[in-house]
């Protein structure tokens, strides 16, 4: 039949037209990338370093902040931090713990994407060393992010209870589904996993040290060791941890080029970039972050705090750290050089996450814990020498400290001094919060209406509540 021929002839014509071929649809819809080269893996790790969120907001929760005079500006986020609110009203604020949570897990997700890609790409022999160094950096960064999370959102590591205290989820691979629920590890488990990543990472970096980046916006050798010393200092689980803290503290100091590389505070005045100048050996890892930290808030660091606590050094000396400060409203006291303002932004600034001084403090703290006050003194003298004008190291004696802190016990005297110097050295950098937590120091805050509240009564564990949006997906909240 003639008609059938026509229909048969149509078949090839039609099959040409019906181009359902899938290659056509494989075109990516936009400029998105596939992480399929070593360079892109490295870029993904570079992308994991947070540039907006830090933990400096804890400043408002510390005893460095009180009710300011003649300043009335308040905001939900400042008030919630100051009153240790268990349910922050603004869960998305840059200075909220919940944003730190999401940003940190965002970094972890970056790392996990990079590590997953690293497994899949084939790496030529010539690039093996570089790939291993990149892998090492990624593991350290993953460790660091989880470490800071567990320290903010869980009870401090207590060897007696860490095996049952709620930690944070430790994440090893990227999410591929819309809804993924996680269980919180114990504090001990979080630390243990972070330790494994840390040590694996250090090993890889040490084996391939020539490929380790020198860019101080990333983990480089001094900051890796410095972080390790912080890790063991914070965990402080027996003598081994103390030894590790000292070991990595010393390693870090070496990597910085020795304690002498620490600069006098006064030198910041003549250096364009002050404490964030990456060409200075004492600088470890610079982070830029946005924070409402130095504004004129009704709850803020004040001249009163300065006069009563910060000036209270055992030597009766002046302190270079407080001689230069920003003019603020009322009695708000914001000294310079703890961070460097970013031009054009009143809320963006950069600071050094891992300065040489921290390695010195960590090592000194280890020696104090070992009751080796001679070595502790050697290290703490370096700090004093750089901040006190006309400093005489001979002044720093156990007796002086005992008298000044009114304690009998040598260890307590040295610990008190160490905490004093750490407090002064890291104002507005968030570090004070962890010291309060580690040494279980209580804080009293005075409110606008004249009442006073105590940290020990509101958050005895000194933990921030995990984000409300995590709780609403079923994650177990803190008490």
């Amino acid at each position: 039949m003639k008609n059938y021929k026509i229909y048969l002839a149509l078949i090839p014509v039609l099959s040409l037209l019906f181009t359902g071929c899938s290659d056509f649809l494989d075109q990516a819809p936009d400029e998105r990338l596939e992480i399929n080269t070593l360079t892109k893996v490295e870029s993904t790790i570079i992308g994991s370093y947070q540039n907006n969120r830090g933990y400096r907001f804890t400043h408002f929760s510390t005893d460095n902040v009180t009710l300011a005079q003649k300043v009335y500006t308040n905001d939900e986020i400042i008030e919630d931090l100051y009153t240790w609110n268990r349910t922050f009203r603004n869960q998305k604020h840059q200075d909220s713990p919940s944003e730190f949570w999401t940003a940190s897990y965002g970094s972890i997700s970056q790392i996990n994407h990079a590590l997953e890609a690293l497994e899949e790409i084939s790496i030529p022999v010539a690039d093996q060393g570089k790939a291993s160094a990149i892998r090492g950096e990624a593991l350290v960064m993953r460790s660091y992010c989880h470490f800071m999370l567990v320290n903010l959102f869980a009870k401090h590591y207590d060897p007696a209870t860490a095996g049952s205290d709620l930690g944070v989820p430790y994440v090893f691979k990227p999410e591929t589904k819309l809804k993924v629920n996680y269980d919180r590890e114990t504090v001990a488990a979080t630390y243990q996993l972070a330790e494994k990543d840390l040590l694996d990472g250090i090993k890889l970096l040490e084996e391939n040290f020539e490929y380790v980046t020198k860019n101080k916006y990333r983990f480089t050798f001094p900051s890796v060791y410095n972080y390790a010393s912080r890790f063991y200092t914070f965990r402080n689980n027996g003598e081994e941890d103390v030894a590790m803290a000292i070991k990595y503290g010393e390693k870090a100091i070496d990597a910085y080029g020795g304690v002498d590389r620490m600069r006098k505070w006064k030198e910041y005045q003549s250096d364009e970039f002050g404490p964030v100048d990456i060409y200075q050996p004492e600088v470890g890892m610079v982070q830029r972050s946005r924070s409402w930290l130095p504004f004129n808030w009704v709850y803020q660091m004040t001249n009163g705090i300065r006069d009563e606590y910060l000036y209270d050094n055992p030597f009766g000396n002046n302190d270079d750290r407080f001689t230069i400060y920003w003019i603020k409203k009322g009695d708000v006291f914001i000294p310079s050089y703890y961070f460097v303002y970013e031009p054009g932004f009143s809320e963006a600034s950069a600071h050094d996450l891992f300065p040489l001084s921290e390695a010195i403090f960590n090592a000194a703290e280890g020696y104090i814990r070992q009751n080796d006050f001679v070595k502790a003194k050697e290290l703490l003298e370096v700090i004093g020498g750089n901040v006190y004008p006309g400093y005489n190291p001979a002044q720093l004696t156990t007796d002086l400290l005992k008298t000044h802190y009114n304690v009998e016990d040598e260890n307590s005297a040295w610990t008190s001094y160490l905490l004093f110097e750490r407090r002064n050295q890291y104002l507005m950098k968030g570090m004070r919060w962890f010291d309060l937590k580690r040494y279980d120091i209580d804080v009293t805050h005075k409110l606008q209406d004249g009442t006073e509240i105590k940290l020990s009564e509101i958050a005895p564990n000194k933990d921030f509540q995990i984000p409300l949006y995590a709780i609403s997906t079923g994650m177990q909240p803190n008490k």
Binding site: L17, I46, D75, K92, L178, R288, Q448, Y469, A470
Partner: protein, 1226 residues
């Protein structure tokens, strides 16, 4: 609106449902038939009869097959179903027709390929001794053209005649017979009472214009009979709004189920258009546009929220801005899933199909049409703004309360009269120490200024459109070409538009089976506007605390007039431009508009080719190919002496105040520099910015149509089709700081600018491409039994790359099943003379939409790391912008549609009603994660939505005589949707703003409000919190809405249109009233605890709280004392004033009824225009947006158009306009 029956009167038996001969052509045939008899070449043709028992329809089809001759006949006189007995064997056509027409008073004539069956005319009968009279008359068509060859019969007799060349006739009528029956093929037969009449004029109406026979789906033309979905077709001429070049705006109130919200009147900006509400929550909500069978892609994908933002990209948001309305023949809206299924996963929001005009065979037609539209200047009387005396009294209060003083004005960013005064005082140019006289005299000149900013900035807008079209054709080809020019000289002193369009269309019948149509649509636009910058805030351009749209530089004349104090003068006492401080430097809007402008140039070209091959009457293949190239260039030209350019150096120029240098946020501070000195990134020169949007779009669709019949009663339609789309979009931009317009366009960027770019990790140029690939196949099948019961089904399978490179996410099947019962074909209704049509339709479908998410694979993008202190340490980072969601899939929707079509009294009254229920699922929404994956809000298929609605369209002609006709049309639609599952809510801030937020158990865009509880005894607003306590503070930085109330839907639920037209001889008067109901609007107001001396304030402030006790009589809050900033409750008070604007007190019911359009047209009688060599001519005048007839909440919306969204930038309000039009045909 004309959504009626298929014609019962004419059947063109060429076997194709979709072909019909336009009435003009039938007319042509008629003319030739009568007057060209001499040229009539009659060929002997024989027909072989194989079957003795045939219906008329089958027989004529047989004739067509064997002889190629088409029989045209009138079903009134010859029922197609009538049985004919014929002897078997071969017979002459003449003999055959002799048998067929025997005893039916019919005769036949041959003409070319047609055999025309017509009434047997007994010419000038003379019957006995009865008294006779002579009736003369003329028969014309709707356009007034005379109709030759029309049958005029005396009812119930064999007496009759046919009209002559001029449509005239003469008939001798015996006494007592007073009814004439006038009939003509393709026209509606009329009966005319001739009692007491001797000379009559008969207007015959084409039935094809009233009853659209076919539904154009873009892929195919479907006979109405076989079509089971909901579709509405409107003729462009009927709905056209003069002076609105955007076709979308003409649909308002004219089509049931279509909602049009005109958010701006600026040329090129798209209105919000919804067909049956929104099917998606965050995704595309506008319908799919199809022009002449080709899907019209958006050159720029602009989201619904962006549409109201007033940002630069709104200027190219309208996909149809390049279409000349004069080229459009009709618009068809497919609204239910059954109708749109063939478009699959983009048709969930409905389909709008535009068909442009085509050439017709026959004589050459040259048409010229012009519209001149005039827009008057806005008036203060229509708005609620304080005059300069009242304004000055508020300035005085601000001064007394400590807000304005020498110190504060020095560093103030903007100045009004007081600021200017203090500036002079500070510079010792005004003495206020010795006496107050100088100061008072100074202030008085501003107090009395009462500047009329509308008069200064607006002018009577004149827009003209000219279109010349030429069309025609012969046996083998036809063509339509047109050239259009639109010029809008501007409504403000800053804007103007030129648009050129061309349409070239030719149809070529290569053989009688093969047809090619080629078409080119070209348009070019050149537009100028006031200079503005994009909105600057974090969440979609809206300030998340205040819910307002903010931008750094906005010279929108309307916004300026509405927000600038009338104390400020445009000209000083000498008639020179007077400058006041704005952005820290001198500003005069008239001067600035001259130096700071926005330009848009759009080139849009589409080339189309359509191939139709008809193997036989049952089988055909069609293919459509199109290529489109779109290029839009938006430029921002900021002159070196403009306020904006100077603002970048305010504080750094000689004699500039130190205070300004410190406060000016546009200045640049070198990182690490300890001097505190700030630099300008634009120490000299102006700014030149360019944004290029381009699109390359290739499109192919092809289909096979096979429409067989089995036996007499079973007809089938099948369509197998495929579609491929390829779209590349690119956006590139360039920002130049340091451009010298006065120096011959020289560019010289400063070192500071380049340094800042490097430090910020920014660039002065950029490019971003997106790629869209799409393919689909579809099968449509229909079956009809006797035309009574029709079933239809479509299956479609399609894939897109837009959701990412995931094989699982990319495919989407959709389907539909539907049926129709044509009840008038049933025996129990067939004999009902009054009933023309009664159809019952039911359809059920699954359609889909791509949604707005593309994270089916991980979204990793590179960026330069930001190293402000060490640019050299910047590396390329990769950011995981979105995690993989491997389960991502299309948004889907089930829809049940039940409809009824009724036509009675010879289509004098037609009613179409539809009811639909929809269940949307897998809708894409935001999911709040626990954050542990690294992304706190993800996109996924998390939302469901139920909706339902009613649509009703009634068209009627209550009065219809030869000379007078009244047509009335009513459209009504109701749509309600409810989100039944949603996993994330926005912050309270945006949810109280004009953008609104999706609401669980509520609408797609709902709005929230704080609950106003009056003023306290200090004049500060109070609100009810969740416990109904009166408080000043509520938390807006949260997604916990407990302190706020849901206060309504931002999109209207009910649409209404009422159309009336009266036609008397050549005159037509028509009016359209349209209304929207069931929605609310956030009133634009700006109440605060303090004001500045330069802003325009609302006259509500006259009733502000002044003294204790006023809280009992007013709700307008107090201006506070500047000392409030030094009180412990400062934060609460500031929050209270913010909440006031977000409160239910400033939320209005936005329902309105608008007199949308009134028009008067006059068609000049043919005999007059012919004397000057024209074929036809008409003139008209039209007024659009004439008045708001009713406003639900006139107190709150005083001076605010309920449709207009006040966001500054590129937006302009909806305006009254008057259009004069002229059309002539040669």
């Amino acid at each position: 609106m004309k959504k009626l029956s298929y014609g019962r009167l004419i059947h063109l038996l060429n076997g194709q449902w979709e072909n019909y001969i336009p009435s003009r052509m039938v007319m042509l045939v008629g003319i030739m038939l009568i007057f060209n008899v001499s040229t009539f070449a009659y060929t002997q043709k024989k027909v072989t009869v194989r079957k003795s028992n045939l219906t008329v329809e089958e027989l004529f089809k047989e004739v067509k097959q064997q002889t190629g001759l088409t029989v045209i006949y009138n079903n009134d006189r010859l029922n197609k179903a009538d049985q004919i007995n014929l002897p078997n064997g071969s017979m002459e056509l003449e003999d055959l027709f002799g048998i067929v027409l025997d005893g039916r008073s019919l005769t036949y004539e041959f003409k070319d390929e047609y055999i025309i069956v017509k009434p047997q005319v007994t010419a000038v009968g003379s019957i006995g001794q009865q008294q006779e009279r002579t009736i003369t008359g003329v028969v014309v068509d709707e356009m007034g053209a005379t109709l030759p060859g029309v049958t005029v019969m005396l009812k119930g007799t064999q007496i009759g005649t046919a009209t002559g060349l001029d449509g005239d006739f003469q008939l001798k009528v015996p006494e007592g017979n007073n009814v004439l029956v006038v009939s003509f093929i393709g026209m509606i037969t009329q009966e005319i009472d001739i009692t007491n009449l001797n000379d009559i004029k008969v207007h015959l109406k084409s039935e094809l214009t009233d009853i659209d026979e076919v539904v154009v789906t873009g892929y195919q033309k479907v006979d109405r009979k076989m079509f089971t979905g909901a579709a509405t077709r409107v003729k462009m001429d009927d709905i056209k709004l003069g002076g609105e070049p955007d076709i979308t705006k003409s649909l308002e109130g004219r089509v049931a189920g279509v909602s049009v919200q005109n958010v701006s009147s600026t040329f090129g900006t798209a209105p919000k258009i919804r067909v049956r509400g929104s099917s998606s929550i965050y995704g595309v909500q506008k319908p799919l546009w199809v022009v002449d069978g080709i899907v019209l892609e958006d050159a720029k994908e602009v989201s619904m929220d962006d549409l109201v933002s007033g940002d630069l990209n709104t200027l190219i948001s309208s996909g149809v801005a390049g279409l000349n309305m004069d080229d459009v023949a009709d618009v068809q809206i497919l609204s239910d899933g059954t109708a749109t299924a063939i478009y699959g996963a983009r048709a969930m929001n409905g389909v709008v199909i535009i068909t442009t005009k085509t050439g017709t065979k026959g004589s050459l037609n040259v048409n010229y049409s012009t519209n001149v539209t005039i827009r008057p200047v806005p008036r203060y009387e229509d708005y609620n703004i304080l005059n300069s005396v009242d304004q000055m009294s508020i300035n005085r209060e601000l001064y007394e309360k400590g807000w304005i003083n020498v110190a504060s004005t020095q560093g103030a960013i903007n100045h009004g009269a007081y600021g200017k005064m203090f500036d002079l005082i500070a510079n010792n140019q005004l003495n206020w120490v010795d006496s107050n006289d100088q100061v008072n005299a100074f202030l008085r000149q501003y107090e009395t200024a009462n500047t009329n900013w509308f008069k200064e900035l607006f002018k009577t807008g004149v827009q003209q459109q000219h279109t010349v079209s030429v069309s025609g054709g012969g046996d083998r080809s036809s063509f339509y070409t047109s050239l259009g020019y639109l010029n809008d000289a501007g409504w403000t002193i800053a804007d103007k538009v030129d648009r050129y369009t061309a349409l070239l269309k030719g149809t070529f019948n290569i053989t009688n089976k093969f047809k090619i149509t080629t078409q080119s649509d070209l348009s070019f636009r050149d537009q100028k506007l006031s200079g503005i910058s994009n909105s600057s805030n974090d969440v979609g351009g809206v300030n998340r605390y205040t819910g307002r749209i903010e931008r750094s530089f906005d010279n929108n004349p309307f916004l300026y007039a509405m927000t600038t104090s009338r104390n400020i003068r445009a000209y000083d006492e000498n008639g020179d431009l007077e400058f006041f401080r704005r952005n820290y430097v001198d500003y005069n809007i008239i001067d600035e508009l001259d130096k700071n402008s926005l330009g848009v140039k759009v080139q849009d070209m589409t080339f189309k080719a359509l191939f139709d091959y008809e193997f036989n009457s049952k089988l055909s293949v069609n293919a459509r190919l199109a290529a489109r190239f779109f290029n839009a260039r938006t430029t921002r030209e900021v002159h070196e002496n403009s306020n904006e350019a100077n603002a970048y150096r305010a504080g750094t120029r000689p004699n500039d105040s130190e205070l300004i240098r410190n406060d000016n946020k546009l200045l640049y501070e070198r990182p690490g520099e300890t001097t505190g000195i700030k630099y300008s990134t634009l120490p000299e020169g102006g700014i030149y910015e360019e944004f290029n949007d381009r699109m390359e779009n290739y499109y192919l669709n092809a289909s096979v149509n096979w429409n067989p019949k089995i036996g007499d009663n079973h007809s089938f339609t099948t369509l197998l089709g495929t579609e491929v789309r390829y779209i590349d979009r690119g956006n590139s931009w360039y920002t130049g700081y340091g451009h010298f317009y006065d120096m011959g366009n020289l560019s010289k960027p400063s070192k500071n600018y380049l340094e800042k770019l490097e430090i910020d990790g920014d660039s002065y140029f950029g490019l971003e491409n997106t790629y869209e690939r799409f393919t689909a196949t579809m099968l449509n099948a229909g079956y009809s039994y006797l035309g009574r019961y029709t079933f239809n089904g479509t299956v479609r399978y399609e894939g897109s790359n837009r959701m990412g490179k995931s094989r699982s996410a990319r495919w989407m099947p959709s389907w539909t099943i539907s049926g129709k019962w044509a009840m008038q074909e049933e025996s129990f209704l067939r004999d009902q003379e009054w009933l023309d049509q009664l159809n019952l339709r039911v359809g059920y479908s699954l359609t889909g939409s791509r949604g707005n998410a593309s994270n089916s694979t991980v979204l990793a993008k590179s960026y330069p790391t930001y190293r402000p202190f060490h640019p050299e340490a910047s590396e390329l980072g990769i950011d995981i912008e979105a995690l993989e969601n491997e389960d991502l899939t299309y948004e889907k929707q089930y829809e049940l549609n039940v409809g009824i079509d009724l036509a009675i009294l010879r289509n004098r009254l037609t009613v179409t009603a539809d009811h639909y229920r929809r269940r949307g699922f897998d809708l894409i929404g935001k999911y709040n994660t626990n954050g542990v994956g690294g992304e706190s809000v993800k996109w996924g298929n998390v939302a469901d939505m139920d909706s339902y609605g009613y649509e009703l369209a009634i068209n009627g002609s209550p009065i219809k005589t030869n000379n007078f006709q009244w047509n009335v049309g009513v459209t009504y639609s109701y749509h309600k949707s409810e989100i039944t599952s949603l996993l994330q809510t926005d912050w309270v801030g945006p949810a109280t703003s004009i953008y609104g937020t999706p609401v669980l158990d509520g609408p797609v865009r709902g709005i929230y409000s704080s609950r106003f509880a009056g003023l306290d005894d200090r004049g500060i607003p109070l609100f009810y919190d969740r416990n109904d306590e009166k408080v000043h503070y509520l938390n807006v930085q949260t997604d916990d809405y407990s302190d706020f109330e849901f206060s309504g839907n931002l999109e209207p639920t009910t649409q209404m249109g009422l159309f009336n037209s009266f036609k008397y001889k050549g005159f037509t008067v028509s009016a359209l009233i349209s209304g929207q109901f069931g929605h609310v609007k956030r009133v634009m107001q700006d109440f605060d605890y303090q004001y500045t001396d330069g802003e325009a304030l609302t006259s509500h402030l006259k009733n502000r709280w002044r003294v204790k006790g006023d809280e009992n009589i007013t709700n307008i809050p107090a201006i506070l004392d500047a000392d409030m900033l030094n009180r412990p409750d400062e934060n609460d008070i500031k929050t209270a004033y913010r909440l006031y604007g977000m409160s239910d007190y400033w939320l209005a019911d936005a329902s309105f009824v608008r007199l949308k359009n009134v028009s008067l047209n006059y068609t000049i009688p043919k005999r007059w225009v012919e004397t000057i060599g024209l074929k036809n001519a008409s003139v008209g005048v039209q007024g659009t947006n004439l008045a708001i007839l009713w406003l639900a909440d006139p107190d709150k919306l005083n001076g605010e158009d309920p449709e207009f969204v006040w966001s500054g930038g590129t937006t302009m309000p909806i305006t009254k306009q008057y259009t004069f039009s002229l059309k002539v045909g040669f």
